[in-house]
Subunit: 358 residues, 2 copies
DNA sequence: TTGAAAGCGCTAACAC
DNA sequence: GTGTTAGCGCTTTCAA
């Protein structure tokens, strides 16, 4: 079952009756080989099942046509991003290998990139939440593109327009008539989180709505933090009628807390998330959210990296891609709620509570 | 910012005033170096930031201490498996690189494994649903371990005990008093799916319950198939009181269909899934399911592979790991439902079912 | 258009 | 203990 080994280029050359170099040129589609010989060599290589040894290629300083990716696999849309990147890479005749970044036990990014450097032609780093990453990467000897980091990155980077997305989310709520709108923040170590927070404050100001610090609760992008943040908000005397959560995961945490308190989404409180994770369209309620342009981010990052590899020494380029508001079930005009409240206050309880119960 | 290059072993040796080989031995922790020199060399290597070049190591036939993994990243618990495998690998001082298998555009597994062979010391393949995979892998020149494939694999493999898990799921429902239990199957090209189906039939037979083909609906592990399968089941004259879905994703699809029909889970129909995907404990209702021993599978597969790499030529070993029934909210005793039905039917009591309800 | 030689960074096998 | 030699599979350089 285990053949002795795969054929080497020398063996292919021998069978084809040419020198090593001619075979190399033919296979790498380089000039300097007569058409007949080239065809011959390619056929024989194929028959023999020849596969170029990338370790050997790399050693000589040549390209391996592999790109490396560093990513935290457990993060919700990482796999979508990776799938997209893989497709783009393959279309360019590149392979992609992923280094799975562990959550806690993290080794110096430096050494990971160094390992990938020995294999790949370039590296894309999908930055983790916890990020003292960039500093340690500074001396990479290989083209690097980062994703998910804002303008601060010293590397060429690709990111979603988090600020614009946050603005869309908030404007959507305001257009629905909401005035008391809360914000559940993400981990502010990430520029994406900071941009979303900034959008919240800016749009409130633009709309001349009062800014109430009690409505801005700290979170960390995780479900649990969304749950707890919502509990805090629900405990307020004058609780919000809408919540903008910094990401979908914490939005669903908030929804769970709202329901546990006997309230409904969007009946009592509208919720907007951010990211449009896959299950956002499947869970009940389907979540109104801001879609990250994952496919475009994947495409842009790979293309940028390939350009760097090709030697187009793009100066620290920052690509920012637009987001999209996706309106689903978790938001509703304030009007409905107003009416309901009025009904309750007027003592016409039966209708209102019947609705609430459902 | 870009230093010219990382130091090579020769350079370290030169600085340390020893020969290349002495440096190599010291760094690889091999015998044949005096303690003082060894310490010296290690210190200098560290100071110079030396990192062994794995491409070069691989070329000489030595170990790279990298394991390769082939996996479909979008499959629900793949990332958990990968996280676990990564942790185990790192604990053994191995790194792990993942090849993301595209969903459709698939290239010959052969060539993927061949690529990994040039980099890694061994490969773990998490088999995809669509699987004409194994044949094409047959000539791998490198240790290979497969996950998620049953006994048929020609390779050493690690798998969850799907049959036993299916039995637990069904017995749980029977113990709750259910007699009309439906099954929504998975993709039968996978042994895991076939084993779960077999468990369904066997336990029904063991419990002397009638087998009704109408209650066994084909699915493919996807949410949509669960949804549609449940719709078929709900359309039956005598619809089931419980459903065993071949995986959690299709179980949630079924739950969505049940709710859409105005029924409740578990009030009207109990549902058991399989896998215990992360959100199974977070969605409403929290899903009763069979937990795959992912951490153990991760551990076992890596350890098995490392053993093969170490030359312990384990004959095609098949490791089967036990699953665990996790009882949550989506299942409930039939009793409750029976009472409701009795009320509806205005007192048409059935002695036999009362006994069964226990 | 072709081929021979040198060497990428490392290790296994053999000297000393 | 230590160093020297050869070579892994390939590409780059240079010569024919």
């Amino acid at each position: 079952m285990m053949k002795r080994h795969y054929p080497t280029l020398a063996e292919v050359a021998k069978v084809a009756g040419v020198s090593l170099m001619t075979a190399s040129r033919a296979i790498n589609n380089r000039p300097g080989v007569s058409p007949e010989k080239r065809e011959d060599i390619l056929r024989i290589a194929d028959e023999m099942g020849y596969v170029a040894n990338r370790a050997a290629q790399k050693l000589t300083g040549a390209r391996t046509r592999i790109i490396g990716v560093v990513a935290e696999l457990h993060t919700p849309f990482t796999s979508d991003l990776l799938l997209g990147m893989g497709a783009v890479a393959r279309a360019a005749d590149y392979e992609m290998l992923v280094y799975s970044l562990p959550v806690c036990d993290r080794r110096p990014p430096h050494s990971i990139i160094e390992m990938l450097r020995q294999i790949a032609d370039g590296v894309i780093v999908i930055l983790p939440y916890e990020s003292d990453y960039l500093e340690s990467m500074a001396t990479a000897h290989i083209p690097v593109v980062t994703i998910e980091q804002g303008i601060e990155s010293a590397f060429p980077s690709v990111t979603a327009d988090n600020y614009q997305g946050g603005c869309s989310a908030l404007r959507h709520l305001i257009e629905l008539g909401h005035r008391r709108i809360a914000f559940i923040s993400g981990n502010d170590r990430l520029t994406s989180a900071r941009d979303r927070r900034r959008a919240y404050r800016d749009v409130l100001a633009q709309a001349r709505l009062p800014y109430d610090p009690a409505l801005e609760v700290d979170g960390d992008f995780l479900r649990k933090s969304g749950f707890e943040a919502a509990q805090k908000l629900l405990a307020l005397d004058d609780r919000p009628t809408a919540i903008f959560a910094a990401n979908d995961t914490s939005a669903y945490g908030a929804i769970a807390a709202i329901r546990e308190a006997g309230l409904s989404v969007p009946g009592d409180i509208s919720v907007v998330g951010f990211d449009d994770i896959p299950i956002a369209s499947q869970l009940h309620p389907q979540l109104t959210t801001i879609r990250q342009p994952l496919q475009q981010m994947a495409r842009a990052s790979v293309n940028l990296l390939l350009a760097l590899i090709a030697g187009l020494d793009a100066p620290s380029e920052q690509i920012v891609l637009p987001t999209q508001l996706i309106v689903r079930e978790s938001t509703t005009p304030l009007k409905a709620k107003r009416k309901k409240e009025e009904a309750v206050k007027m003592g016409v309880a039966s209708v209102g509570t019947a609705n609430l119960a459902r």
